[in-house]
């Protein structure tokens, strides 16, 4: 256990957080979000909070500012900031310390910055509001922080608006904003989760250095244990709002005592051996594509093929053209040049000219299962639609087939009449898989289908996809930015960088040295679950990410 010390910046004792949910058409439900959590954090130390979504980690992070989202109540225990209990402080007292003694870095800096104001105004706003320093001094400090965080042109960076800088830069700017008023404690709420793996590593290093140099205490919230292992001194593992394990980073990573922590540490346990290449079901040849009204080729001379019943993984950072390739193959964005052969015939570049069979045999699953389903349709209607549309199934026959598909995605009975809102994230993605399968496709394009899911849930989805491939013989074109996912599912890999395929071949070839510089960067940027990884990898890097 970690000792409680009187000089701690933050002490949370036996915290209990509750909320009331109001599901439509049902009586209000009482929820306990966090129960019996105790934390202590000294100056200059970093505490990592880790767990799946719904574990209560963000809720605890915000509780350190005595802030509850929506109707969330901090109903019991103590939150001591610099020795004062802030849980019961009044609104005015809280305003005086928020942004002054404790600041916050949000997950999506792109959404957390006010789009209507220049970055400098926002970065120094707290310092001025709380009269920490005069404007000139605050601006000088902001420039200094921009420089420390490795932002380009630190002198003029603050003159830009949020939409004018990249996601990785915004995340650093948000860190500068949090550090500017010289707080005692900074809450980092998944600051690198939305970033590419190659960008994440730079931001992570910048944040780590900034924490170290300014000597603040920090809470670092993430679902990625490998990431938190790089920055935290102590780690608390949370599940369902309760502490599973709390100890030093070394202890949690190397000698975890709880079964749940061990599962987190050893996640990505799928062992997939690649199949030998067979005849391709899809061949995209010399594809060049651009968006309407632009004169920039998003895809340049891309050639890939997908073997029948196997998986081609397309990997690259955002902006590399992976999703555009999917749009070209599905016909949503007709290619400017090149040809697509599918199941022995040439596909029309434009969706409108494709036959019903072309459409049926080529299905898609999306990253956000939430937005890919009509929220007002039941699971049965969603899965039944392709059955009706492609096969004309009706009545009992259709219902039997729906149940069949539900069994295939391991959801069983009782889901047919549920709405998407009543399902968990993993279940929603399973329903999307069933909907794609219902069309009996030869190829399914999976666009970042596990990116929005917790690691353990994502693993379940990957296992399901592999099982279905073995049973149904369907091929996957699997788009992802996550190399661990690639290793788990691919037979063949295409690495994309700025619209071109820079490395292509069977999995064993692509992932074996010697590497080209970009693949090396990509592979080496995947956080590893060991202490000191960040420093060692930064020391040996050869090139910069395109996102910087």
């Amino acid at each position: 256990m970690v000792d409680h010390r009187a000089a701690d910046v933050l002490q949370i004792k036996n915290l209990r957080i509750e909320a009331t949910a109001y599901p439509p058409g049902e009586p209000p439900r009482h929820l306990v979000l966090v129960d019996g959590v105790s934390v202590s954090l000294a100056k200059g130390r970093v505490l990592g909070l880790i767990g799946e979504s719904g574990a209560g980690k963000s809720t605890i992070g915000l509780a350190a500012m005595s802030y509850g989202r929506g109707g969330v109540r901090l109903s019991g225990g103590e939150v001591l900031l610099n020795g004062r209990d802030i849980r019961t402080a009044n609104a005015q007292g809280l305003r005086a310390l928020r942004g002054r003694e404790v600041t916050y870095v949000a997950q999506s800096a792109a959404a957390a910055f006010n789009p209507a104001k220049r970055l400098m105004e926002q970065v120094i706003e707290t310092a001025l509001l709380h009269k920490v320093m005069p404007r000139a001094e605050a601006e000088a400090r902001a420039v200094e922080l921009f420089r420390k965080l490795g932002l380009p042109n630190p002198e003029s960076f603050g003159n830009r608006y949020p939409h004018q800088v990249s996601g990785g830069q915004l995340q650093r700017a948000m860190t500068a904003m949090a550090l500017c008023p010289k707080p005692d404690l900074v809450i980092f709420d998944e600051p690198t989760t939305a970033l590419d793996v190659t960008t994440q590593i730079d931001v992570l290093a910048a944040i780590k250095e900034a924490i170290h140099d300014t000597g603040v205490a920090a809470i670092y919230i993430t679902h990625d244990l490998a990431v938190v292992a790089q920055v935290a001194d102590d780690i608390m593992v949370l599940r369902h709002g309760k502490t599973v394990e709390y100890g030093t980073t070394d202890h949690i990573i190397n000698t975890p005592s709880e079964a749940y922590t061990q599962a987190l540490v050893s996640v990505r346990s799928i062992d997939h051996t690649e199949k030998t290449a067979t005849t391709p079901v899809l061949r995209a040849e010399a594809i060049t594509a651009r968006y309407r009204g632009t004169d920039f080729d998003v895809l340049k001379n891309v050639t890939v093929d997908v073997a029948a019943g196997q998986t081609l993984a397309i990997v690259g950072e955002s902006g590399s053209g992976k999703s555009t390739l999917a749009r070209v193959i599905t016909g949503l964005l007709p290619a400017a040049a090149g040809r697509i052969d599918f199941a022995g015939r040439q596909l029309s570049p434009d969706l409108a000219n494709r036959s019903k069979d072309d459409l049926r045999e080529l299905q898609m699953i999306y990253q956000m299962a939430d937005t890919a389903m009509n929220p007002r349709q039941t699971v049965g209607t969603i899965i039944g639609r392709p059955l009706e549309f492609y096969f004309g199934l009706k009545g009992a026959e259709k219902r039997a087939r729906i149940q069949d598909l539900l069994d295939q995605i391991e959801m069983g009975k009782g889901f047919e009449n549920r709405y998407p809102a009543e399902l968990s994230g993993g279940q929603k993605q399973r329903v999307c898989i069933a909907r794609a399968l219902a069309a009996k496709p030869r190829l399914i394009i999976c666009d970042e289908v596990t990116s929005a899911l917790d690691p353990l849930v994502a693993d379940g989805i990957l296992k399901l996809l592999l099982d279905l491939q073995a049973k149904e013989g369907v091929a996957y074109l699997f788009i992802t930015h996550d190399l661990a996912t690639v290793k788990a599912i691919a037979d063949k890999i295409a690495v994309m960088y700025r619209g071109q395929v820079v490395r292509y071949g069977q999995k064993s070839e692509v992932l074996a040295p010697p590497f080209d510089d970009y693949t090396d960067l990509l592979l080496s940027s995947v956080p590893e679950m060991k202490l000191g990884w960040l420093e060692s990898v930064l020391a040996s890097r050869k090139m910069e990410s395109a996102g910087n």
């Binding site: 802030y67 942004g99 002054r100 600041t103 959404a111 957390a112 006010n114 789009p115 209507a116 509001l129």
Partner: protein, 320 residues
């Protein structure tokens, strides 16, 4: 040469507005043409002899094809000459000029009070969303907008001239009146108009602010320690300005072109009354002229709303 996208959009909007105005002028001209009878008939009355009609028609140029007459009219209109009224032979441009001044005076007086008041009330309602100040403001403004204008007008007249003897029930203004005398004269119609336009603008302000309040950057502001009113003022309002402006401008346009009833009730000599008078007398050139003026005001104000909306968007103002 790289043209700033804002400039491009501004020019685009203005050109579109002019094309639209041209189309509207044609529709107005056409509408007046398809009415039974023509100007000569209207001047001479039902009992006119065919010879007299034919004479007058050739005198007025009515025998020319419609298209030619349209372009002649348009050409004169572009030079500021809207023709002469049939009923009294007065120069229409001159008459309109005088009354347009009165119309704008009333609209500006009402706008100067209504816009800041509506936005302030909207901000307060958003700040206390769902609590009593919100309910009070929403309720009262809903009541004022629900009253037909003439009912509201008579109610205000009764209250402020009979119960409390503050104002005159008619709002006569004439050239040479002092500014303050004019203000005093238009007080009652201004009060009525403020009541009518307040609710729409206030509700849009409230809704736009509440919509923005869902954004992540509002949470950022709260976690910076900003007070609720500071949160509404700094991050919320600048991002909600576009929809608010568009509703404000629509209401301004209404104050210029849609207040006939109020003008009539208070005997206020402005464009609306002028139009109604001449519709009753079938004075087609006047109807045509006032129609085109109203259309121009409406289109102009809407372009203005569009432009402010565009300019308030930092993505367009400062491209990557």
């Amino acid at each position: 040469m790289v043209i700033h996208p804002i400039l491009k959009l501004v020019v685009q909007r203005i050109v579109l507005g002019l094309i639209l105005l041209l189309a509207v002028s044609f529709v107005i001209f056409l509408g007046v043409q398809i009415l039974p009878g023509d100007a000569a008939q209207a001047i001479l009355g039902q009992s006119a002899t065919p010879e007299a009609l034919a004479n007058l028609r050739s005198q007025l140029g009515l025998n020319e094809p419609a298209l030619v007459r349209y372009f002649t009219w348009l050409g004169h209109a572009l030079h500021g000459d809207l023709g002469k009224a049939l009923t009294n032979g007065q120069d229409i441009s001159h008459d309109i000029g005088q009354r347009l001044g009165n119309t704008l005076f009333l609209a500006v007086c009402a706008g100067v009070i209504a816009v800041p008041l509506a936005i302030t009330l909207g901000l307060i309602a958003a700040r206390y969303n769902g609590r009593w100040p919100d309910k009070l403001i929403s309720g009262v403004t809903l009541a004022t907008i629900s009253l037909p204008e003439f009912v509201a007008a008579y109610f205000v007249i009764f209250l402020l001239t009979q119960v409390v003897h503050l104002f005159q029930p008619v709002s006569m203004v004439f050239p040479g009146m002092s500014f303050f005398a004019k203000l005093h004269a238009v007080a009652l119609p201004v009060i009525v108009l403020v009541m009518v336009v307040l609710a729409h603008m206030m509700r849009m302000t409230r809704a736009a602010i509440l919509n923005v309040m869902q954004s992540a950057y509002i949470e950022t502001a709260e976690l910076k320690g900003l007070s609720p009113m500071q949160v509404i003022w700094r991050p919320a309002l600048p991002n909600a300005i576009a929809p608010i402006i568009s509703v404000v401008v629509i209401n301004m346009a209404y104050l210029v072109v849609g207040v006939v009833v109020v003008e009539v009730v208070f005997s206020y000599n402005a464009l609306g009354q002028y139009l109604v008078d001449h519709v009753a007398k079938r004075d087609l050139p006047v109807v045509q002229a006032v129609g085109i003026i109203f259309a121009a005001v409406y289109i102009g104000l809407n372009i203005l709303a569009d432009l402010i909306g565009i300019i308030s968007n930092p993505r367009l103002r400062h491209p990557k």
